[in-house]
Subunit: 217 residues, 2 copies
Amino acid sequence: MLESGKEEAAPILVDQKLVPGQSSRFQKQIEFILEVDKLKHVLRQTILMDQSRRENSAEHSWHIALLIPVLAEYAKETDIDMFQVMKILVIHDLVEIDAGDTYCYDDKGREDQTQREAIAADRIFGLLPADQATEFRALWDEFEKRESPESRFANALDRVQPFLHNYFTNGQTWQANKINSRQVHERMRPVKDGAPDLWDYVNNLIENAVKKGILAE
Amino acid sequence: MLESGKEEAAPILVDQKLVPGQSSRFQKQIEFILEVDKLKHVLRQTILMDQSRRENSAEHSWHIALLIPVLAEYAKETDIDMFQVMKILVIHDLVEIDAGDTYCYDDKGREDQTQREAIAADRIFGLLPADQATEFRALWDEFEKRESPESRFANALDRVQPFLHNYFTNGQTWQANKINSRQVHERMRPVKDGAPDLWDYVNNLIENAVKKGILAE
């Protein structure tokens, strides 16, 4: 689902004759790489720190991947496989290429989100060779289920980054969408499960946002 | 160096009183996270696959991080620490926040690139607590030196992605900058050192690009 809502372009086809060994495996991998470029067109509600424009999901995915080495020490559980966390985060939003970014406080949009995203996952991961399609789908399922320590930390980072953007851009997105502090608090709960120190910080900022009048109580 | 060439905003300051335990370590980490958002404003020469606009360095960094699990099997050396590769790639372009993206065929711009980027690295990584500043700086140095197997694979991916963009957007960037096939071939050499199969593919595409008339011989 592109930013303009316009019809999506068909995937670019890779000429198998030009691929080393004319390998269909290699061909599929390149076609996947070309296709995922579309994530750069998926706009989120989050605005950039300088308030110049909305963020896209590729930028968001990069930012939270970078948060891993910065904030690893705050993960709730020790012995976490941080490479697994990173793989989860770089692929976790790919389904949005077809399903779009569903705003986290959009209750109506969220009703059929699961179904839309599952169909998207089938198509997008299905571009890869079968073993990698299975691996990537498992990473995405792991993220969604929030059962492993890795996915809990991944989810915490995925929630914290847009929250920081909202807070440090004076709550513009909260106000535009008439969001209150209870809703933000509820939305941030996975931070508690994945990174309790970050959760404490989030709570301090929510309280201060209400005090400053940039977030409704 | 922002897309418009305008003066950069001062870093956002984080209120230490709101940080858990009033920890200056935590404060620095959050200030770093807010500052690196600026990478989303650094525009590259590369254009997106749908040719709608130029790519920024945050999007590029995400794309090549995703290339790791897709193309890991083509790394020249085995027993590579792929988490290290990923950390290298998510931080490798941060210096561009101050130093800008230097176009790879811009010989004049490249003359003082090393110095500009070293100053940028000092400032940007220096926002972090000392131990992390040292760790991040070492990751960037490792990328630049291309001595470790990890950095060689990282460099291969960093070169392949924009090459694919150029090829699959009909060589627009090559033509606009009057680049010929010898220059592209030379620029792509690190792919040979990091991922020989990808190097074979690059060579096939260069040859075909010349044949199709989208790249000067």
